[in-house]
């Protein structure tokens, strides 16, 4: 893909291209293996551990890190924060890609991916939290696709479709927030059903709230984080407004993140208090819990706050990276470390390299697709023809 920009043939064998090519080849190889020999041939999953990193990383992390979509659109469209204008399209783009690839990755994990539409169209298990997740993700991908589509129409020059979609912006934004609230929290609620299998420090009847609140700052931090990456890789694609607003977006989202994270930190400990789990804080798991909450929530919240006070954008960028890592850590803690904690070490799960391979493959695809979209479509810049209307 990179060669599209550079054109020259001698750049085809750059390290980046070679690595991308290797990852894609390995990914394709695992894909073939997965769909000919079964899930067991490429994963370390077993009867005690039915959900591996394809759920932990591709689904849980994938969805939470794509939360930038709803945070940015609601900030701009609903709360009228105009200086987020340039962040809206990139955020919607990455959210749409994130969700699309979550759905894509799910095809590897579920046994019969061709039946993925069953819960919606064939047999509705409405008591299931997963039904709700499935329904919301299905609807939200649709919403994001529509929200994202103007960029495509502008790119392709189809004005009619573009003008058909634009009036839907506000209802779609509100629907997006509703759906995000539902499924972000429901991803946590998935674990409500298994109190006996979860470590008490991570099991709480408030886990849906924890997931939702953390999705807010995860989304905001991810916008900042993606901004860092985009500025390195796609600087040339940004217009003046984007470049001008970039620091303002970081400062505003960083400040908001800091405040939300403090609230989140408190409710995590209220959760511990309400289930009287203080005794577990002095165990190995407790230490790990403190690493997660203090090291990856309180610390970045303080870094954000300092950055906000001193108008220090680079400090906030560091905080964003730690926050994103912390949210990933939290999702892994809930879904892997705390889950099945009571089993013997020999019965616990550790991913097969091919599982990691698929996850890396998916991430590479996202990046590649993102680069393609950003280089082709008006995402980082405003399309000259629709400049005033955007």
């Amino acid at each position: 893909m990179n060669t599209h920009d550079n054109g020259a043939k001698n750049t085809l064998l750059t390290p980046g291209n070679v690595i991308t090519a290797i990852i894609l080849l390995v990914g394709l190889f695992i894909t073939v293996l997965r769909f000919t020999k079964g899930i067991g041939s490429v994963t370390a999953l077993d009867d005690n551990n039915p959900w591996g990193i394809w759920i932990s990383f591709d689904l849980l992390c994938g969805v939470v890190l794509a939360a930038g979509g709803y945070t940015t659109t609601s900030a701009y469209y609903l709360f009228g924060l105009k200086h987020f204008r340039s962040a809206v399209r990139p955020a919607i783009t990455s959210a749409f890609l994130g969700y699309a690839f979550v759905v894509f990755a799910l095809h590897y994990d579920v046994g019969q991916p061709w039946r993925l539409v069953y819960p919606i169209f064939v047999s509705q298990g409405t008591t299931s939290i997963l039904f709700e997740v499935g329904l919301c993700v299905f609807l939200y991908v649709t919403v994001l696709a529509i929200e994202f589509s103007p960029a495509v129409w502008e790119w392709l020059g189809i004005k009619k479709l573009r003008s058909l979609v634009l009036p839907l912006t506000i209802p779609l934004t509100i629907l997006g927030v509703i759906l995000s609230t539902m499924h972000q929290s429901s991803l946590g609620a998935l674990y409500l059903i298994a109190p006996s299998k979860m470590h008490p420090l991570w099991y709480s009847s408030f886990i849906p709230v924890f997931f939702f609140i953390s999705s807010m700052f995860a989304g905001m931090s991810m916008v900042i984080f993606e901004g860092i990456l985009a500025h390195k890789g796609l600087h040339g694609k940004m217009d003046a407004l984007h470049l001008k607003q970039a620091d303002g977006v970081v400062l505003a989202f960083g400040k908001a993140s800091a405040f939300v994270m403090m609230g989140y930190l408190f409710i995590r400990f209220y959760g511990v208090a309400m289930d009287n789990n203080f005794k577990y804080l002095f165990t190995g798991y407790g230490l790990w819990f403190l690493v997660e909450t203090i090291g990856f929530v309180a610390l970045p919240a303080f870094l954000y706050a300092m950055g906000a006070r001193e108008r220090n954008v680079s400090l906030m960028k560091i905080a964003a990276v730690i926050t994103v890592l912390g949210v990933v850590l939290n999702r892994f803690n809930v879904s892997q470390v705390a889950f099945n904690y009571q089993l013997d070490a020999s019965e616990r799960y550790f991913p097969h390299w091919m599982e990691i391979g698929v996850s890396v493959f998916v991430v590479t695809l996202i990046i590649t697709a993102y680069r393609f979209i950003c280089t082709k479509m008006p995402v980082m810049y405003e399309h000259p023809e629709y400049k005033d209307a955007h």
Binding site: Q124, G125, T126, T127, L135, P167, L175, I178, A389
Partner: protein, 47 residues
């Protein structure tokens, strides 16, 4: 038309199905009501 539920699960299955349908209707209903509510505020601008 009184159905007897022997398990909470069956009860939930019935009530949640209805709730989901109502939720869908409710969302559209609210949108409609919003348009009705703000209909005289100013003409909807077309682009």
């Amino acid at each position: 038309m009184d159905t007897v539920f022997y398990s909470y699960h069956d009860f939930m299955l019935a009530t949640k199905t209805i709730t989901y349908v109502l939720m869908g209707l409710g969302l559209f209903g609210l949108l409609g009501f919003w348009l009705f509510l703000t209909g005289r505020d100013e003409p909807i601008r077309k682009y």
